[in-house]
């Protein structure tokens, strides 16, 4: 099984099982970690903002145009920022590390 590593806002790392076809947001949410994902995953808010570990950035790819626009509503946006609802899980992402961005 593929693994997703999520660091929460307290700095604790959680090892989650990857689910092919789910988004990273859904994997995080279904494991009851604190992710708001207010719009439910349609790229219409910025409350599933995560930082992708640089090692995994190439595999995850660049944010799309809609996603870049929504990231304008996030704070402390970095080069590694992504909206986790827009990252579809594949086994190829096994070992991906993300950190939950601050809430506001």
């Amino acid at each position: 099984m593929s693994k997703l590593y999520v660091t929460d806002r307290e700095g604790h790392e959680h090892v989650l099982e990857g689910q092919v076809g789910w988004s990273v947001m859904e994997i995080i949410r279904e494991n009851n970690l604190d992710i708001e994902a207010a719009c439910g995953g349609c790229c219409a808010c910025a409350t599933c903002h995560v930082y992708v570990d640089p090692a995994g950035l190439a595999k995850v790819g660049e944010p799309g145009p809609d996603e870049t626009m929504m990231l304008d509503e996030a704070l402390d946006v970095r080069d590694t920022s992504r909206l986790s609802c827009q990252i579809k899980w594949t086994d190829d992402l096994d070992g991906l590390r993300v950190t939950l961005a601050p809430k506001f």
Binding site: E36, A38, C39, G40, C42, A44, C45, A46, T47, T68, M69, L71, D72, E73, A74, L75, D76, V77, P102, K103, F104
Partner: protein, 342 residues
């Protein structure tokens, strides 16, 4: 409390799809409704978050956008003449000695009715606040998330943060009366209307506005009086002298004052029974995404169902002496008259 209380049958908190459909179901039973919403428009999340995105799971509507769904619901409930009170949040709930409920809003409106329906979705939309340490101390004095009176900002040294229409509109409107105006945005690309962006760029070229690309990383000042804003970018830090910061990072949803109304809550959701979707307080109902019960699904269609069943019980509370007859809109001329089609 400035004006006299408005008396009605049903106060609906939240003018999203479920609140709008509740107006329809209530209207068929002769129940009049007033609605309260903190947005400046009806439609809730459908109108604010995804007006142009498609919805495929509304029964008998294979595909529509969020805004189309709202427009159709408004049309459907129009015969019942709902009264909308927008741009205000339901603030306090009081039980009156005669058994009715009083709801007051942040705009000092007072409504009284035997039934209150909370159809507030994930809460009311409020501006996202700057999460920087110490930012709170500046709020209301130097840091603002909305402009209520433009004159308040005459002669001020203003920094506006954001890249959407609110940010650009206020940059353009306030620039003529401000002592200085700077716009801060994280990238040199704006999702605001192209016309506003063009105007802003002209003023930047003329030197009337400074455009700073980066993100606000710190506020400087003391005792709620802002003196400067620090902007971080890959090129380093810039300090902008300013006494006023207007931050437009969009809206977020929060439960707000409802959390303190003494209702049974489970993780910010209101617990209801599945016969009438009534809360632990008699006469207070919760429908749509904000309610919870075993098996609850946060679907718009579930909210519609909840609205219909809720109204059965609401009718008994509103009109205790009347008998409720179950009828179909297809065959009942009485219902068709209410709808204005017979």
């Amino acid at each position: 409390m400035s004006a006299a209380p408005i008396a009605t049958d049903m106060i609906i908190i939240g003018a999203g799809p479920v609140g709008l459909f509740a107006v329809f179901e209530a209207g068929l039973l002769g129940i009049r409704c007033h609605l309260i919403d903190n947005l400046d428009k009806v439609g809730g999340q459908c109108a604010e978050l995804y007006p142009d995105k498609p919805i495929y799971d509304i029964p008998a509507v294979p595909r529509c956008t969020g805004q189309e769904l709202v427009d159709r619901l408004v049309e459907q409930c129009a015969p019942f003449e709902p009264v909308f009170h927008l741009n205000q949040q339901a603030q306090a709930l009081t039980h009156l000695p005669d058994g009715r409920w009083r709801v007051s809003t942040t705009a000092d409106l007072v409504l009284e009715a035997p039934v209150v329906v909370i159809a507030a979705g994930a809460g009311s939309f409020v501006p996202k606040r700057l999460p920087l340490p110490g930012a709170e101390a500046y709020e209301g004095r130097s840091l603002f998330y909305a402009v209520r009176r433009m004159e308040q900002f005459r002669g001020r040294r203003i920094v506006v943060a954001g890249g959407g229409d609110s940010a650009l509109d206020w940059v353009l409107n306030l620039q003529p009366i401000a002592a200085s105006m700077a716009l801060v945005h994280r990238r040199d690309d704006f999702r605001a209307a192209p016309d506003s962006v063009a105007k802003m760029r002209r003023l930047v070229a003329e030197g009337a506005i400074s455009l700073v690309i980066g993100q606000i990383s710190a506020l400087e000042g003391a005792d709620g009086r802002l003196e400067g804003v620090v902007v971080r970018s890959p090129q380093g830090e810039t300090r902008l002298a300013a006494d006023t910061l207007l931050a437009f990072y969009g809206l977020k949803m929060e439960l707000g004052p409802i959390a303190d109304w003494g209702l049974n809550l489970h993780e910010n959701l209101i617990a209801v029974d599945t016969e009438a979707f009534e809360t632990n307080a008699p006469g207070i109902f919760a429908i749509g995404d904000i309610c919870t019960y075993p098996g609850k699904l946060k679907l718009i269609l579930s909210g519609f169902h909840e609205a219909a069943l809720m109204c059965q019980k609401a009718f008994k509370i509103c009109f205790p002496d009347q008998k409720l007859i179950f009828r179909y809109t297809t065959s009942s001329t009485d219902l068709q008259k209410k709808l204005g089609v017979a």
